[in-house]
Symmetry: C2
Subunit: 551 residues, 2 copies
């Protein structure tokens, strides 16, 4: 029996973020992308969500390399965690690798990992695979798609992309997509992020024009915030600032890092005398200054946040400041962004933030752009990726509309093994896949039990009931003492606390009369009695922790 | 010195929701609206946010009545809480009072409160005030503005409104606004919700047309979800269903309640044979059924939620079902709505939910509509209400554009006392105002300390350290025992727990050697040592609760 190609998404299907896909054939395996996801609002206290790497660990011997499409967190963020468990060379373009390097340095493993830098058009051999980088447009510089030649046929990963004919770094290489399509593509794995949106995503050029309008006739200080990784946008801001005779100062660590990397790699060429230190702006007239800052997502403690709330060491927002938010809020961040806008208004600033102002465009392809890719690539099999269930389903329908038969469209989930021969694509099995939660330095030690407890504690707080019990007769030696946190304001609720103590005492005495010596039974009795009493009197359900110490 | 009119917003300024405003003149006081706010994501476990009523309680003797503009929660939701503290007649239109009555019944105080029902055009005397109800368009039936004649001049509250020339219950009474404007209006308090949006809010009619399109050529079951309170929308759905030969079944308590009230009051006239019981739909062909359900905001346990997640007793979503979400997600609810949509897609349903489909329109006036009101009313003084800081500021700018001088525009906050004479409006003082949190049956017993603890517990969980100490020599009799919740999964972290026990033991022994007898000092030592150790090893900061029992 001939060998099959296995395509195994370990993340990014039926979810947003933590994109990672395995390609496996015989003794060879490569990985495409290795991103993080972000915790949802139920994942209390969790910092990051990373993929379950156990399938990679189990197949370390086969691993021939990791190929990264571009440098966004949802495509590179898990690399340091992955590289602590397996090791292989990482291939990417210069900007992508620059960002990965920063990340590896932060985790102090830069010297352990081999980063190999390529240009669009380069082809890399990795076992039986050969991987070609293809230039695409996206909201980060140096983004690529991958065309992977395998023994059973060509597989194309679009990565995140859009079609921007007037992009400053050149239009996506549609010709190459078309050529590959004409040669025959076995499977297409395509970005589904914007499949709900009709039409086309506007060009990044449009934003530059809108920003220019905001600079014209403004004789006040201007502060622009945007995604630090959008080098096209930053370049536009710097160009416009120069045109209007303004110096540029930068605030916020991620923005500074990004500019440093991009400048070193030649993606950003800032003419001498354009950048000034943030400390120097005070000596400049207001209409000669632009501050570029982090905080476009309302992040706590970002530069714009600190400016808005008056805790920024160098910048005080004053009446008349024009603040341009050149970004849209990622779902979940709306309220945080809104809070900052309110504070800026309160200080008398002029805040420009509506989408209608053309101050931001998406980095992802809308329906018509997706159709162009499907039309060019004409894949035999289609697997929609990068999206929640509705995106995947809608993308499946779009593919059908473009001529892929329904039976050749496969909507999977993470862990699904797609087995492809030259003529067939089948789902036969699944491998371990899931999410691993990162909290502080802990990776995977916060799971569903811990999260359930955090949720419980968050909702109604907790009550600790301490009692010392005689090991001889089960009588109370001291206590029960009641300690609460996050339940009620104790100083104003002493009566309730007294009642709780009585309820606990009654439970203990009842057990003592029954000669209960199993402290688990006693604990349950205390817990049940208190929780029943509390629900009746307060309709709340705090966590109750009986602590019994036997003397 | 002549008496001044005091206008005191106790809620709804610099915030969304909990709208309530006091008007006071001499010995007379009236209240306009009495709404709830909803907890933000930092208010763990809080169910509702209500205004601080202490100013009303202190002035109970002056209270001549409460006037309600319409029946939405952010205008009526706090009435039961308010009426437990003060008492006065409540005036509103029939639909509004019908909803208030439901609320009072739920709180078992319906017999204590006098509800007086009026029609648009009615004028009510209340002390020195006379209050006229004016018909407006909004997303709930029977919404009104209020024109209040006071000894110093006329004050207009728009309430929530839009201008809908083709509304099924008739266009907003612009003529009356114009007449009052010509007679002279001292102050306008106007809804600011949509002041960020250019142009006009489309007519509710547009939604009816879009819904009709969705029904055409659909031979599957249709499920429509929308805001239960939008009677215009429900009426449209029922009309369209009849036109297409479908029976209507209702699922979800708030929808059932609303339909009951609206039918009793004559706002909804459902032809006999149109409504069927949910249990009866199984016997009908799929293309003869519409289910109208709650859940348009993704609410946990709403009818649509239960259908999506397979826990609805009577309705299973099957492939082909067309689900129409005729609503937009209120900020903060986006993810919940999105989760339901994903589940519906997973079950093979056809979900229609894009705004671009015209399936929902706002109930609030956009910029051009606001300008019409300003142009008609031509107030001497303008106080923007119903909005966060940015809405209030932008509305102030719009008022200037419409001819109100900047010095006559007053942006206040809750508690601000606006003192008006016939010619002046001054801010001199403030009264107590704020938010009171409702958690279960507790009103006001959850405050900043409790919330801070809940947040702390939510982030990193907690550790209880129990130890029995001899009262004679300060030595350890038993313990220290370590109990954690929401911190780490203990079964896989026994080593860490052992280390924590050692760290605690060292702290206790150190104190014992120093002959510490103040248990507060011992507690601090345990807390500091553990928290330092934990931060070093895990970068986490759980709440640490040392419990010392002296024997």
């Amino acid at each position: 029996m001939a060998e099959n190609l296995k395509i195994i998404p370990l993340g990014g299907l039926d979810e947003i973020g933590k994109n990672i896909t395995v390609l496996e054939y015989g003794k060879d395996m490569i990985v495409v992308d290795c991103g993080v996801g972000f915790p949802d609002e139920e994942m209390y206290g969790v910092d990051l969500v990373i993929p379950d790497f156990s399938y990679l660990v189990a197949n370390q011997k086969k691993l021939r390399g990791m190929f990264i499409t571009h440098g966004h967190e949802d495509h590179i963020g898990s690399i340091p965690y992955c590289m602590q468990q397996v090791n292989c060379p990482i291939h990417g373009t210069a900007m992508t690798n620059g960002l990965i390097k920063l990340k590896l340095e932060e985790h102090r493993i830069a010297d352990k990992v081999k980063l190999v830098t390529h240009q669009p058009g380069d082809v890399v051999k990795a076992g039986c695979f050969s991987v070609e980088f293809i230039h695409v447009n996206h909201s980060i510089a140096d983004a690529t798609a991958l065309a992977i030649k395998t023994p059973v046929g060509t597989v194309i990963f679009t990565g995140d992309f859009k079609i921007d004919p007037t992009a400053s770094d050149g239009m996506i290489d549609l010709a190459r997509f078309g050529q590959l399509g004409n040669e025959g593509v076995l499977a297409l794995l395509c970005d589904s992020t914007n499949v709900e949106r009709q039409g086309y995503t506007p060009s990044e050029n449009l934003v530059a024009e809108s920003l220019d309008k905001q600079f014209k006739n403004c004789d006040q200080r201007i502060i622009v915030t945007t995604f630090a990784s959008n080098m096209h946008r930053l370049r536009a801001v710097i160009d416009i600032a120069r045109r209007h005779g303004r110096k540029v100062a930068v605030s916020g660590r991620s923005m500074e890092n990004m500019i440093k990397v991009a400048t070193e790699l030649g993606y950003l060429k800032i003419p001498a005398g354009t950048l000034v230190d943030l400390a120097a702006i005070k000596s400049l007239p207001k209409n000669k200054v632009v501050i570029v800052s982090t905080g476009s997502q309302g992040e706590n403690m970002s530069a714009l946040y600190r400016m808005a709330f008056g805790t920024h060491k160098q910048v005080d927002i004053v009446s008349g400041d024009r603040i341009i938010i050149s970004a849209s809020a990622i779902p979940g961040n709306e309220k945080a962004v809104s809070r900052i806008i309110n504070e800026l208004y309160r200080k008398g600033a002029d805040v420009v933030y509506e989408k209608s102002e053309g101050l931001h465009v998406s980095g992802h392809a809308c329906q018509e752009e997706l159709k162009i890719i499907h039309g060019l690539v004409k894949p035999k099999f289609f697997i929609p990726v990068h999206g929640e269930q509705r995106h995947l389903q809608l993308h499946g329908r779009l593919a059908q509309q473009m001529g892929t038969p329904a039976k050749n469209i496969h909507i999977g989930e993470i862990g699904t093994v797609f087995e492809l021969s030259k003529r067939t694509c089948k789902v036969k099995s699944a491998v371990p896949a899931g999410m691993v939660l990162v909290d502080g330095t802990g990776v995977g030690d916060v799971g569903s039990v811990v999260l359930r407890d955090r949720k419980h504690l968050a909702q109604d707080g907790m009550i600790v009931v301490c009692v010392n019990i005689s090991s001889q007769d089960g009588g109370v030696i001291s206590g029960p003492d009641i300690i609460t946190r996050g339940f009620i304001y104790v100083k104003e609720s002493e009566d309730l606390i007294d009642e709780l103590r009585e309820v606990a005492m009654e439970a203990i005495e009842r057990c003592s009369r029954k000669r209960v010596r199993d402290w688990q039974i006693l604990k349950s009795a205390i817990k049940n009695d208190l929780s029943g009493y509390l629900y009746k009197t307060t309709k709340r359900n705090p966590m109750i922790l009986p602590v019994i110490m036997e003397i």
